[in-house]
Structure formats: structure tokens, C-alpha cells
Homo-oligomer: 124 residues x 4
DNA sequence: GTGGTCTAGACCACA
DNA sequence: GTGGTCTAGACCACA
């Protein structure tokens, strides 16, 4: 259950937030389901409560969860979340496409090759 | 000629390195051509010489330039550079594809939409 | 009858107190009418009795109800209540007006626009 | 220059952020002007650098400043900021209007009285 | 020097 | 018990 990767260049609070975004978007965590308490998750991940707090604050700010004082953090009904995440990912894809074009390569070809390799990785 | 964008989230040394990588890959800078001296470029960009030094070090480490003590930095023959850059970009693309799949979206569809929007941006 | 909104940023005890203030001010609850017991209301709202207790204490402190030991909580005669609430709201309005002026906007114009939008919301 | 008010119910980081929002919106701080460094402002306000950091992070997230690693935080060109702030304030005004209507008072009348009193306060 | 992240630990409001 | 804020102090990347 330990999903912190110290080799990952993303800061810890970001990894935690990203992980929960994913769990919410794919429906593993359902609306109004409670997230682990700040302290409990900090213990489980052997990290500092402040770090978890920072992750939860980001999740609330971006509309993934709502926080009730004295009760805990809960998953928000995710009406628009998926399309928001899609826009975010599309933005990343556009940036990458431009970077590819900037050095004179063909995005379509590179995408196709990457899809193949990604499929191979998944088979492992 | 000022190619530093302070609104860009990449650190400055990274922006400088990326810019020269691009110039070399697309052939604007030719093999054995000399890069501006650290001091001169630092002046031109009104940035810290340490920063330019760091960018040049990165370029050398990644094989884009070679450095001659007391003479300066020069563009390497770019035989294998292009394929190396391609691998780097493919790696990024694979990561992004996995992120897209992780939230249950279709990479092919998202790529197609991103290509359209990137084309629109270029028309501006 | 459940008037707690977990998406509301106000703490729960505050929401309960505000709700009763409103019921009393508009005359739905009449002078000397008894409020539900702490336990009963806590059950109805599936919340903590401490929370209801805190709401009732606030109502008493602000003069909306009086408490009789061993009997319960009762609505106070609302002679001056309405004008007190009005002063409270006017205080909030003054703060908001000052905040609007502090950034160089026109309170009158903003108020007019807000009134229109509030009317639209009510039509829903 | 000390703009922290310990009697204010807003948290310190919020007060700092609000103060700079105001300075930027009314044009006291101009685009690309540098904010005091995190450490320096913390010293000036006798508060903790983390608290200032939190305020600056909020300002960046909301588009008021941009942050350059190793250089500092700078005011962003405020094209859309003013209209964003206006919407924020209008939202507050709408909430307040609804609260006024909920207890059967007349928002227009209360607004007029508040304007008068706000004017008196300013004369002090 | 600059900003950003993190730990350890305290304290408060709230349920 | 819960979340939120804050202090003190360390450490890292970057300019």
C-alpha cells in the first residue's frame, strides 16, 4: 500500500495527491467515501502529517474532495472532474507534440512507437 | 535573441540547454561551431554565469557539445544525437500514455485531439 | 428536515445555529416555543450531541433562546432580535463594501449586479 | 509596515496573501516588480518563513505572481486579475444578499445604510 | 542569495 | 477523534 517512490522526481505531497486523483477518477473511491485521516495516512506512509495535509489541501482546492472540520475528507461527486483531468492531460500532450515538432520529428510516428512500447511494458 | 521566459516553469539553465539542443538538432548550429562564451551569453541573457555554465555542462554530459579547456564549447558531430533525442522524447510519450491509461482515457483519441489543437496554435 | 450541508464551508454547529436564527427571525418558531432536545436533534441530524450543544450555547449567548435547566431550550421573545441581526448583517455589509473599495471597485455597481444574479438564482 | 492583525480571524498566511492581492490590484505593485523574499518578509513580519511561503504559493496559484527559482517572486501582468477579483467579490455579495433576504430584511435598504456608515468610517 | 519541500512537534477549533 | 495553522529548523535545487 506504500505508494511513495523516493526515486520519483515529483515531491511526496504531489505523489499522494496524484494517487488519490487516479483512485477517484477510475472510481475505486466513490463519492462521499472517506479518505484515511491525515494522521493515519501519514503513519501508513511513514511520512509527516504536514505532507499529507498539503496533498489533501491540493485535492480539495482542485475539487476532488471536500473537507469537513472534525470529521475528515470525503470524495466529491465527480461530475466534471474527468473532463477537467482530460483537459490537463491534453495540455501535456500538446506541449510534448510541440517539443517533438521543434526538433523536426514526426509526432504521429513517435506516438505509434510509444504506444507499442507502452503495451509491452504492460505485459510485464 | 533573448530566449529566457520567466513565466516558463522550467529552471533557467534548463531553458538555455533545451534551446541549444534544438538549435543543434535542427542544424542551425553546425558541427564544430563554437557556442558563445559563458560570460558573453550570461551578459546577453542578463543571467548568472553559473547558470550558463550549468546549461553547458548539461549539454556536454548529454553529448551535444564538447568543451576545450581555454578555448570554449563546440557543437559535436550530431550523428547519433537525433536518435538519442528521439529516445528521450519517446520516453516522455510513454510516461504520458501510461498516465492517460491510468485514468481510463483513450490515448489515441486524446493524441488526435491534441494534434488538432497544436496545429491551430501554430497557425496563430 | 436535514439542514446540514457538508459541502458548506461553515462548521456544522454554525449551520445549525444559523438555521434556528432564521426560523426564529421569520417567525416560524414562536416565542416560548421549545426547541428539540439536544439528543433528539443530534439523532435527527446524525451528528454529535456536542455539536448541537455548541449551537444551542451560541443561540443562547446571542439572545435567541433561553435555557431552563432540566426542561430544555425555548425561543426568546424576539423584540430586539431582528434589529440585532440587522446590525450583524450591516456589519458584514460594511466589511464587504470596504473590501470592494480597497481594490478600487464601485460598491453600488457591484451590489446592483449581485442583486440581479441573486434574483435569477431564486427563480431556479 | 506590519500588516498582520492577530485579532483578525483570517489565518496569517491569508492576511499576507490578501494584502498583496490588494497592492497588486490597485497598482501599488506593478507587473514584474519583485516581492520581498520569503525570508526577508518573514523577518519583517516576525513570522515563520513557511507561513510566508504558504501565502506566496497561494498568490502564484491564483495568478497574482510568478515565481522564479533562485530569483524570487514577481508580480504578474494583471490583465484578467481585476475581473477575477470582481467575480469573487460579487459571489460574496450574492451570499450576503441571500442571507439578508432569508431573515426577511431588505437588501437595498441595508446596503444604503451600510454605505453611509462605511463613508463615516473612512472620514476618521 | 532565492524558492520549495520536508520533518517534528505544538496548539486550536470542531464533532 | 478530525482537519488546519503555525513555529523552528534542516536540506535541496537553482541563480
Amino acid at each position: 500500500m506504500d505508494f511513495i517512490d523516493y526515486l520519483d522526481s515529483r515531491p511526496i505531497y504531489q505523489q499522494i495527491a496524484d494517487r488519490y486523483k487516479q483512485l477517484i477518477l477510475i472510481g475505486v473511491m466513490l463519492p462521499d467515501e472517506q479518505l484515511p485521516s491525515v494522521r493515519k495516512l501519514a503513519m501508513e506512509l511513514s511520512t509527516n502529517p504536514n505532507t499529507v495535509q498539503k496533498a489533501y489541501a491540493a485535492l480539495e482546492r482542485e475539487g476532488y474532495v471536500y473537507s469537513v472540520k472534525g470529521r475528515g475528507n470525503f470524495v466529491r461527486a465527480n461530475e466534471t472532474l474527468k473532463s477537467k483531468k482530460k483537459e490537463e492531460l491534453k495540455g501535456k500532450m500538446i506541449d510534448l507534440i510541440k517539443e517533438i515538432q521543434a526538433v523536426g520529428l514526426d509526432p504521429q510516428e513517435l506516438f505509434a512507437e510509444a504506444m507499442e512500447e507502452a503495451a509491452e511494458d504492460n505485459r510485464d
